[in-house]
């Protein structure tokens, strides 16, 4: 409005003059100031709170553990269930482990320790019978004593035919190996396997025991949808469940009557965080006290004064499976051992660990993880990165380079498509390195990202792939029949690359049917040498996990085999500032 009216209007004219001044000044400076002011007043409230709460800024690290306070652990995934036989993911296992104890638990190195059981049972002379003697001082949070009834009930969910409607992923393995289970008296639980099964205790001795007086009255199908699965109000573990705000956090509080001694912490919070970058951000701001670090964040987190870093090897790994099925296009090519060995020799696995994983991994020279007691550090043959040797091997096997630079033999070309899960920078990085490495030896590789769910369907069902790049996790037991045994080639199994080797089958079978650790170790050593020679699904590297923990938190003992599930060290965790 350029004209002024005749009637004097002091306020409006003042406003007009103000606007004139404004357009002359640096607009951005004002906007910037306004934004800072807005954030300041928004954060002033936070500031006041922090001021009021911070007090004397407790930096002194006392060495005597103090009771009280809380720890918040951040994860990029929400949990799914509190039902110990239904759970399929490690995050749910973590939360279940906070409030439901199992018969046996694990130390960081994978050794079993007794929990509700008085001691780790030794198998009887028949090789099949395991007798668990239960502690008599374990109580549920509602005061009832925990007896073998509860243990029998929990195990019947994955064993008894009437509970077949319970959607447990453990029933298959359990019913295949176990003959019967019984509770002869209130503090004894007995399991008889059909034949000696060495992995039994490790595989099936660590389920959180659930209360029969809460779940026992439900129909089998109703157990899948029971309220207990999202709100376990009756528990027996170190912490009691308080609430689960779906998608946001799970809150636990101390169980003062815990049979192994009440925890020092008042509360524990499992916080759901948007993604792994947010985990790092929230560690820095102090919104969470502990969280797993992406390999790319480890170095930058080392510069944070308030965060300590723990790192350790884990039995997780990345590998690629080569489709050996003779009816599939690549089946003929991969039948040639020289091709498999040459391809593996040509991959710069050291380079992958250094660049894609930022060094947070260990190059694999065996199918067994270095964390396993059965690992053979000297498995042979060893494959060092050697492109010229790979070229030589392929030349000698008769694969000649064509005019397009791709090797071929009797009409078959060394050209493959590799599938892997989308949205993973690590997998994309590995795929790119492999593509370049193989180009140098005359092998063409096309990379294709697909959704994880489709990938799983490919591995277990459709199986019309050339190569699949995927990650896997072994458990504490060295048995690998699910992946490398010929039984896994059945529809639904993980041996989607059709690897059938009688010798491997025999070694794997013998190693699980003898319970003598020394004998098993010998068999696994032979097995590793054989797998190194055969290379059906060569392993690239084993992962290393890193966790950042705020320095105010003491005794946070993350370890390879007790980071998920019940944590024996959780009850001794304390915070220096008592908050």
């Amino acid at each position: 409005m350029e004209e002024r009216s005749g009637v004097p209007d002091g306020d409006f004219e003042r406003f007009e003059r103000f606007l004139d001044d404004w357009s002359r000044r640096d607009f951005l400076k004002r906007v910037g100031g306004a934004a800072a002011f807005a954030s300041l007043s928004g954060g002033a409230l936070a500031f006041l709170e922090a001021c009021g709460g911070g007090g004397g800024g407790g930096s002194s690290s006392a060495t005597t553990p103090k009771k009280g306070g809380h720890v918040t652990e951040g994860w990029a995934f929400d949990i799914k269930t509190f039902n110990s036989v239904l759970t399929q993911d490690v995050y749910s296992s973590l939360c279940i482990g906070m409030c439901l104890d199992p018969l046996l638990n694990s130390k960081a190195n994978g050794d079993l320790v007794p929990y509700i059981a008085q001691e780790v049972p030794k198998v009887a002379s028949d090789g099949n019978t395991y007798t668990f003697k239960l502690r008599k001082d374990v109580k549920w949070s509602d005061g009832q004593p925990l007896t073998s009834d509860d243990v029998l009930f929990t195990y019947n969910l994955i064993f008894a035919p009437e509970y077949a409607a319970v959607a447990s992923p453990r029933r298959g393995d359990f019913t295949q190996h176990v003959a019967n289970i019984s509770a002869p008296d209130p503090y004894t639980f007995v399991v008889k396997t059909q034949t000696p099964y060495a992995p039994f205790l490790v595989t099936h001795g660590q389920y959180g025991i659930m209360p029969k007086h809460v779940l026992g009255s439900l129909a089998p199908a109703a157990i899948n949808t029971a309220d207990f699965n999202s709100a376990p109000m009756v528990t027996n573990g170190a912490f009691k469940f308080v609430r689960w705000d779906k998608g946001a956090q799970v809150v636990f509080t101390r169980n003062p009557n815990y049979y192994r001694g009440a925890p020092l912490l008042d509360q524990f919070v499992y916080k759901v965080v948007p993604n792994t970058t947010a985990v790092a951000n929230q560690l820095k701001t102090g919104e969470i006290d502990a969280g797993q670090l992406d390999p790319s964040q480890v170095d930058s987190m080392r510069t944070e004064q308030s965060i300590g870093i723990t790192g350790f090897a884990v039995p997780g790994f990345q590998f690629y499976m080569q489709n050996l099925d003779p009816s599939k296009p690549t089946g003929q090519i991969f039948q040639d051992l020289a091709v498999r060995q040459a391809l593996y020799t040509a991959i710069n696995r050291d380079g992958i660990v250094k660049t894609v994983l930022f060094g947070q991994g260990q190059v694999a020279n065996s199918v067994e993880p270095p964390t396993s007691w059965a690992w053979n550090p000297n498995a042979k043959p060893v494959y060092k990165y050697d492109p010229s040797k790979a070229n030589q091997m392929l030349d000698q096997a008769g694969w000649q380079k064509g005019s397009d630079g791709i090797r071929a033999k009797s009409g078959l070309k060394l050209q493959f498509t590799m599938l892997y899960s989308a949205n993973s920078p690590v997998l994309s990085g590995i795929a790119q390195v492999m593509q370049e490495n193989w180009k140098a030896i005359g092998v063409g590789l096309t990379n294709k990202e697909i959704q994880f769910s489709s990938l799983v369907t490919q591995i277990t069902d459709t199986r019309d792939f050339d190569i699949i790049l995927v990650g896997f996790n072994w458990t504490q037991d060295p048995d690998e029949s699910q992946l490398f045994g010929s039984k896994g080639t059945a529809r639904g199994g993980f041996n989607g690359f059709d690897f059938k080797n009688d010798q491997v089958d025999k070694l794997l079978s013998d190693a699980t049917t003898t319970t003598d650790p020394a004998k098993r170790k010998q068999l696994y050593f032979q097995y590793q040498d054989l797998m190194n020679e055969q290379l059906p699904a060569p392993i690239l590297y084993f992962n290393k996990f890193n966790y950042g923990v705020n320095k105010r938190v003491q005794n946070y003992g993350y370890g390879t085999f007790n980071q998920y599930g019940p944590r024996p060290w959780m009850k001794d965790v304390w915070v220096t500032d008592g908050k």
Partner: protein, 344 residues
């Protein structure tokens, strides 16, 4: 008006069912034989996978699964024709009976989860809409009054930028600045995600602290378009004859602008705001994911990745119903606000 409303409502029904059918087909064709929630676990046997699929009813023909979910399945069962559907399976009440089914991941009722999370999303989007409107009106008016000045040009540039900036980028930037950096510099800082603090949170101040950044990011987008609209609407209104008449009659500038011109200029903004009503439920997905805001959008995103068929279908149906209702409401509001509009 009544006939118009009736026709719109009749059209809404096939639209909603079309949405459900398309979602259903999309999910099943992209995920194949996948078992929801499956992790690659060395102890998992093929027999377990088969059994779990059967328990969840995923082994039935697609048409049966769809009819069951829609609720036609239980109607067919009620009239005794269950054999048509391959009989044995425990057929639950479906959509037509008001049952959205249970999540395939954790077995909780879908509708209960949606109702639990919906208020969070509404809180976020409503705040963003109010913020957007509250800021864009003064900005638009000032731009119009100072048309052509440097102030106006700067605001124009900022609007175009605001429209072009991706929400996730802006969100991440704000988190880095106002959470991580401010904390590192010792300044008062804003929480970087979630709706409340896990412990001892939940009061108004706590919720506001968590709401500021996500609402601002969401509002930024509205701001940029609405302020432009208010500006041009204001300019047009100020050139109307009645404004000149009012001034000629001796009315003060202030009264002319703020009492008469402003009201008429801003009234059409109601339409624009109304257009956002359908987006109240579905529009905040990106912001929710970036800030970990526990609303409907984040739930749908997480469950879609895990191929939780029933949850995703439940959410899209719920959102479809709300979108259709929102559209209808916006159209009705438009007629109410502007008496010149008549519906046949």
């Amino acid at each position: 008006m009544a006939g118009y409303l009736a026709r719109r409502l009749l059209w809404a029904i096939p639209v909603v069912f079309g949405v459900t059918l398309i979602t259903f087909l999309l999910m099943h064709f992209t995920a194949g034989n996948y078992v929801p929630g499956l992790e690659l676990n060395p102890n998992l046997k093929p027999s377990d996978v088969e059994r779990i699929r059967e328990n969840l009813g995923l082994d039935r023909p697609l048409i049966v699964q769809y009819l069951d979910w829609v609720g036609v399945g239980s109607i067919i069962q009620a009239v005794g024709l269950a054999g048509l559907l391959g009989g044995s399976h425990n057929i639950q009440p479906g959509l037509l009976e008001g049952n959205f089914g249970r999540s395939l991941i954790d077995g909780t009722p879908v509708l209960r989860d949606i109702i639990e999370r919906l208020p969070n999303t509404i809180e976020l989007t409503l705040t963003a809409i109010f913020l957007g409107a509250a800021i864009s009106i003064p900005v638009g008016v000032v731009s119009a009054l100072r048309r052509g000045s440097r102030l106006d040009q700067t605001v124009t540039a900022a609007s175009v930028g605001g429209f072009a900036v991706p929400q996730f980028w802006l969100g991440l930037l704000l988190i880095l600045l106002f959470s991580v950096q401010f904390h590192a510099w010792g300044l008062p800082w804003l929480p970087s995600g979630g709706a409340t603090s896990p412990l001892g949170g939940g009061d108004v101040v706590d919720r506001l602290e968590h709401l500021v950044m996500p609402a601002l990011v969401l509002a930024f987008f509205y701001l940029s378009t609405w302020s432009r609209f208010v500006r041009s609407s204001m300019i047009e209104t100020l050139s109307q004859d009645y404004v000149r008449t009012a001034r000629a009659k001796g009315m003060t500038d202030r009264r002319t602008v703020y009492v008469h011109a402003l009201r008429n200029a801003v009234a059409p903004l109601v339409t624009l705001v109304g257009l956002e009503l359908p987006g109240l439920v579905s529009g905040a997905l990106v912001v929710e994911v970036v800030f970990g805001w526990p609303g409907i959008g984040l739930l749908a995103f997480q469950r879609a990745i895990q191929t939780d068929y029933t949850m995703v279908m439940g959410i899209t149906t719920f959102a479809a119903i709300l979108v259709v209702a929102g559209n209808l409401l916006a159209d009705v509001l438009y007629a109410v606000v502007d008496p010149r509009v008549r519906y046949a």
